[in-house]
Amino acid sequence: MPDTNIIGLSIFALYFVIIAVIGVVAARFQHSTDDFWVAGRRFGLVILIIANMAAILNGGALISGAGYAAKFGGVAILPFLGFAVGMAIIFFWIAKKLRQYGGITLPDYMGDRFDSNILRAWSAFIVAFSSIIVLIAQIRGMAYVLESLLSIPFFWGLVLGTVIFVGYVALGGLLAVVWTNIAQFVFVWVGLIVLAPAIYDQIGGWQDMLTKIEIVAPGWTSLKGLGWSWSYLISWHIVWAVAYCTRVELVTKMYAARDHKVARYSLPFTVLLVIVFLLYGNFYLGAAARILVWDNISSPDQAFPLLVTQYLTPIVAAFVLTGIASAAMSTTDSLLLMSGSAIAHDFVRRTLHEPNGVVKDEQYYLRISRWSIVVIGIIAFIGAIPNIALLLRIVSFAVAIVGTCFFFPLLFGLNFRWVTPAGALASSVGGVSLTVVWIIASMSGADWAKAFHPGLPGLIVSCILIVVVSARTQPVKRDTITRFFGASR
């Protein structure tokens, strides 16, 4: 066995032991579904910031983010303005009321606010479906890294990564997810920091990088990047703003905060840290990948792992790649939890059992929760086996579907009494349907569909429908209005 393999294996084994111990210990704290899905609602500010960052800085954001920037230009990094605006929308109009309402999932909110099991089931389906799509992308990213790190075939990287994160999520729920996020956070930061001097030696500082990348790829630093239209650029920002304030794994973290103030305080800190992180992790390293390794790869997703293995000593490379694999896991585990909760909590408990008078104890639902996580892990694993290029493009379509499903029912439904169940349903189903049609047209190569990100037309229709249909239909019962808005004025 070569030395690099042994070093990679040793560092990853260390990481694996830490994560496994966390999973087992966290399992001892799971007594109810509230413990399992929202960690007993006990998170303080620092923990919540780390949990938020882990939900955003996923393997896709690092691996595909650098690859995407390398391919399309610096403009293709996570759109900071759209991201900051999205988080500000959660901060001002969503976090406080959502935390005070105190549900467990977003379908919980949809079902309770609009007094509708149809909306609950529909939104649980969208959460499960989109989470599995993003999960597949994340697992593939993780497997690429494990392939480089451990010198094992891609398939076995897939098996190993999936077994690890399905194991600790099924055992310890959100508590295990957040504890492991902290360990993963340390690995990611240390990994990226040790990478900096090696890349600096190759391409120099910020201005040197800008000069070199323009020689290699003219137009890379322009505002439109390599081949984006203005309309696509603007819609990319709008869609990401909406995508961030409806990002299920992020918004549901608000439920786990100690109180609504902690939920809100965590958001600006999260934005600040993510922007600093990605200016280096996507923009600078994306340019480095384009300058240094672009001719040696067949898929943009390979750019980052190759950069690391080519320019670092084996021991440092192993640390960086373990950090990136852990970043992939730190989002994957949240997504797995979300899709598990959509099935176990929203479908089985709230849609099938409770409305029909079926009574089961907490231990039963805890068992169902764990099994649903194992089953979804297996489905995502099977889905990740075929090769799908450009993970971030697929992810951006999946998040657009979630955005059009939840954005207006969440934003308007939490802030205005006049939103009706029929209005919310029409908005959600209409917006998602148009987005899906646009995605299919865009991927089939229709020129008209490529002018905008598919989420934008869906959002416009969703907004029109919620206003028009709500104006013509009956509101929810007075009790429900009182629960969300207090006694009537």
Binding site: L81, T221, S222, L223, R264, Y265, P268, I275
Partner: protein, 41 residues
């Protein structure tokens, strides 16, 4: 080099991509100062 730099300090787009989010973050922090004094309902 392209004059239309994304992160070149001297150009407008820099402020759009980095400056504008910083303004948004600052507004959130200022609002936190205000709500810190609020009593829980």
């Amino acid at each position: 080099m392209n004059t239309d730099l994304i992160l070149g300090l001297e150009t407008g787009p820099f402020w759009l991509l980095i400056g504008a989010p910083v303004v948004v973050i600052t507004v959130m922090f200022l609002y936190i100062i205000r709500i810190r004094a609020e009593k829980d309902e």
